[in-house]
């Protein structure tokens, strides 16, 4: 019997990594980093039980394990499939995966309007990135999109279901973080919608976190909406001694003014520590905070357009021709940027 501390080996697009048993393919890929990390629209490492739904992270398991080398018959959701010793996974080196992902993007965009120029999430939208990296130039969908009126769920948060991709992240937040759950999913299929109990507001100390986890512009901060575009603001890391949460935040400045407060996000756009509503909505003066310094912004992000740092192309693993080929596109894009 292997010790649970014994590491097991998995290879993703030809790159090996050793991980502890129980690690998912997605998280193993994140340990390698770079282009071979599958995109994730619904998985959120901080939210228990999340993942498996959006299907953007589908990968091909070309070898099951050392013990049972048979390939898996179907593509699997890498965010919910744990690795086995000797497993071989293909992400961007598999055409089948790229095709399926293109299909998923096309499906997600069916009921998501391409109104990025006016959407509050522009510049921070994962679907935008996904569409850019894995989508097709045009959609084949010719029917009317579903639309909804915007609704205020409480005085600080606005929901615009038109943009929701039903990733369930906000539902997990409501379930796991807040003490009174009044928000969830109604209806079935493409008639499903995020909603609150009739006329209920989402009103509790941690409700603001639904804004941060939403990968698209469906849940927005009413105290920030349309005040500015994110790439015109400057993110600064700061903290305060907060009695209810970690108090670790990012402040988004325009000139001297704090326009928005959010939780800090990691390389995968995931919140590091959830924050409370007082930090988010009520502390908008520099004096409320201990400033740590400017936030590092990836140079591939549009937010970087306001940051004058050196441009570094993404890493290419030299001895993997397939990966190199797949990386070419990305490199060309980075160079263009």
């Amino acid at each position: 019997m292997a010790d649970s501390n014994d590491k097991i080996k998995v290879s993703i697009d030809g790159i090996s990594v050793e991980v502890v048993p129980g690690t998912t393919i997605l998280n193993a890929a994140r340990q390698i980093g770079g282009e071979i990390v599958p995109p994730a629209m619904c998985y959120y490492s901080k939210l228990e039980g999340s993942g498996g739904k959006c299907r953007t992270c589908l990968v091909k398991v070309s070898k099951g394990s050392e013990k049972d080398p048979r390939p898996m018959p179907k593509l699997v959701a890498s965010c919910r499939t744990t690795v086995m010793d000797g497993m071989e996974v293909q992400n961007i080196t598999s055409n089948e995966v790229l095709e399926a992902r293109k299909g998923v993007v096309e499906m997600l965009l069916i009921n998501h309007p391409l109104d990025c120029p006016i959407c509050d999430q522009a510049g921070e939208c994962h679907l935008q990135d996904l569409g850019f990296e894995h989508g097709a130039a045009a959609t084949r969908y010719e029917f009317e999109r579903r639309t909804f009126e915007k609704i205020d769920i409480g005085d600080k948060i606005q929901l615009h279901m038109t943009r929701c991709i039903l990733c369930y992240r906000c539902v997990f937040v409501a379930d796991q973080l807040t003490n009174q759950r009044v928000h969830g999913i109604l209806g079935r299929g493409d008639a499903a919608e995020i909603s609150t109990y009739i006329e209920k507001a989402v009103d509790n100390d941690y409700s603001g976190n639904v804004i941060d986890v939403c990968p698209v512009g469906a849940l927005t901060d009413k105290t920030f909406r349309f005040k500015n575009r994110v790439w015109f603001t400057k993110p600064v890391e700061a903290h305060r001694d907060c009695p209810t949460c970690s108090g670790k935040v990012t402040l988004w400045y325009k000139g001297e003014e704090v326009l928005r407060v959010t939780a800090r996000k990691d390389a995968y756009g995931e919140v590091e520590d959830f924050i409370c509503n007082s930090c988010r909505f009520e502390k908008k003066n520099t004096a409320d905070w201990v400033i740590e310094g400017p936030r590092k912004v990836a140079n591939t992000s549009v937010i970087a357009s306001n940051h004058y740092s050196e441009l570094k192309p993404l890493p290419v693993i030299k001895d993997n021709p397939k990966l190199k080929e797949a990386n070419k596109n990305q490199l060309e894009r980075s160079v263009r940027l």
Partner: protein
């Protein structure tokens, strides 16, 4: 006459009562199991019988039972899947309505085999009459000492409950069923873990179809080996088939697996041929989710042999020229039926029933429905046909649960086998637009004039 096991006494008056059911040999299997056999012996008999799940996937029941985890101090559950929502399938409700004790007896035997002390029959919410019938039958069985504490003095206790579902097709998918049974929204769970390890309330659980559970009764009565002699190859025993569409005798039939499809369609014992002497055009053999086959392929396999009502023979040729036995919902279409209209209709169903958790199924089913709708009504384009094939491919295999596949297969197979009919709807769009399906044959709904 073919061998009947489940419906042997269907014509006996009051067979729905415990008294008459027992007069016809009912509850012998319970006595035999509890008094003479250990739970493992019962599992062994079911394994020997070769019984394959009758709910659709055809997974060997005995093997599924032997996968059940048996941790100490944790309850195990048996859940009967009586959601029966697949369009074209209506066999389980037939059995529950007319011989409810066949299911109750099966539940007792199976629960004993699995060591379950609490079991549930999850019935589709709309089936109120069946729910009442089952509840009454449970009362009768309890009063006779077949349920409750210390059954027949064996020391074995079992409580059996009927739980009405919400009336959603997706709640027939086993993990969505468990979610629903736990009082939650009926969304399928992501597997693994499988129910055998973490099912109802996170405990080891077996989910079986009504017919699979009822079949354990004749298996115990006659012995697994004897049961395995009925049928052919790896398709052993008898199977309930619900037959509908343009046939002379629609209804539920018990067939011995291995019956030639041709005999099933044309013999007076079964479907009795196609209505009004018309020609057969196509068949959906196992409920609306399985691929549709044109008449020539439903009668002959890819190898040119006679097609038989078995899991193997119907699947012969893969999805290029084969299909599945599925849940046994046999729908026949005569030469006048429009395949495009039917495909649209099926897709309308899957679109409506998608739970909406995963993007390809949530969005793709609706997309297919809209394209099919416009084709059907003569507003489609030639490129729509390939678009449909492509969208169905993007759904198939990429979803959390098999509803995605169930939505994709009817579309893909209809285009594979009846492409010319889809093209007709584009090239003859004027005619397609004015076709007044069926309505001409019916009375005006307002005046009732014929």
């Amino acid at each position: 006459m073919a061998r009947k096991l489940l419906l042997e006494h269907i014509d006996v008056p009051y067979i729905n009562t415990l008294e008459v059911y027992r007069q016809k040999g009912g509850y012998r299997a319970v006595e035999k199991a509890l008094k003479k056999l250990s739970p493992d012996d019962v599992v062994e008999e079911v394994k020997k019988s070769g019984l394959r799940g009758r709910g659709g996937a055809g997974f060997p029941t005995g093997m599924k039972w032997s996968f059940l985890a048996k941790p100490e101090g944790v309850p195990r559950y048996l859940v009967c899947n009586a959601d029966e929502s697949e369009p074209g399938t209506f066999k389980d409700r037939f059995l529950m309505t007319y011989i409810p004790h066949a299911l109750i007896e099966g539940m007792i035997v199976s629960s004993y085999a699995l060591g379950a002390k609490t079991s549930y029959i999850y019935v589709r919410g709309e089936m109120m009459p069946q729910i009442k019938i089952l509840e009454r039958a449970i009362e009768e069985a309890k009063a006779a000492g077949f349920l409750g504490k210390n059954i027949l003095g064996s020391g074995y206790d079992l409580e059996l409950y009927v739980q009405p579902g919400g009336g959603a097709y997706i709640c027939g998918e086993e993990t969505a069923l468990l979610e629903s049974l736990e009082g939650k929204r009926g969304n399928p769970r992501i597997k693994p873990p499988f129910p055998a390890v973490a099912g109802l309330y996170n405990c080891p659980t077996v989910v079986n179809n009504v017919e699979s559970i009822a079949a354990t009764v004749p298996i115990l009565n006659m012995g697994g080996d004897e049961y395995a002699k009925i049928g052919i190859d790896r398709s052993t025993g008898t199977k309930l088939i619900s037959a509908s569409g343009n046939i002379n005798n629609p209804g539920v039939f018990e067939i011995e697996l291995g019956l030639p499809v041709e005999e099933f369609i044309y013999s007076d014992e079964y479907c009795g041929g196609i209505t009004n002497g018309k020609r057969l055009k196509a068949v959906v053999a196992g409920g609306s989710s399985v691929p549709i086959l044109p008449a020539n392929l439903i009668l002959k396999t890819a190898k040119g042999e006679n097609r038989l009502m078995t899991y193997e023979s119907l699947a012969d040729g893969g999805f290029i020229s084969g299909t599945m036995l599925g849940s046994g919902g046999f729908i026949a279409f005569d030469e006048d039926q429009c395949i495009v209209r039917n495909t649209w209709n099926f897709t309308r169903f899957y679109h409506h029933e998608s739970c909406g958790q995963c993007s390809p199924c949530r969005e793709g089913t609706g997309w297919m429905e809209k394209v099919l709708h416009r084709l059907e009504y003569g507003h489609g384009k030639m490129s729509d046909i390939d678009l449909l094939v492509d969208v169905s491919k993007k759904i198939e295999g990429n979803t959390i649960c098999p509803l995605g596949d169930a939505a994709a297969w009817p579309v893909a197979s209809a285009i594979r086998h009846f492409r010319d009919e889809f093209e007709w709807h584009v090239t003859n769009s004027d005619e397609a637009q004015i076709r007044n399906y069926g309505l001409a044959h019916y009375a005006d709904p307002l005046t009732l004039a014929g």
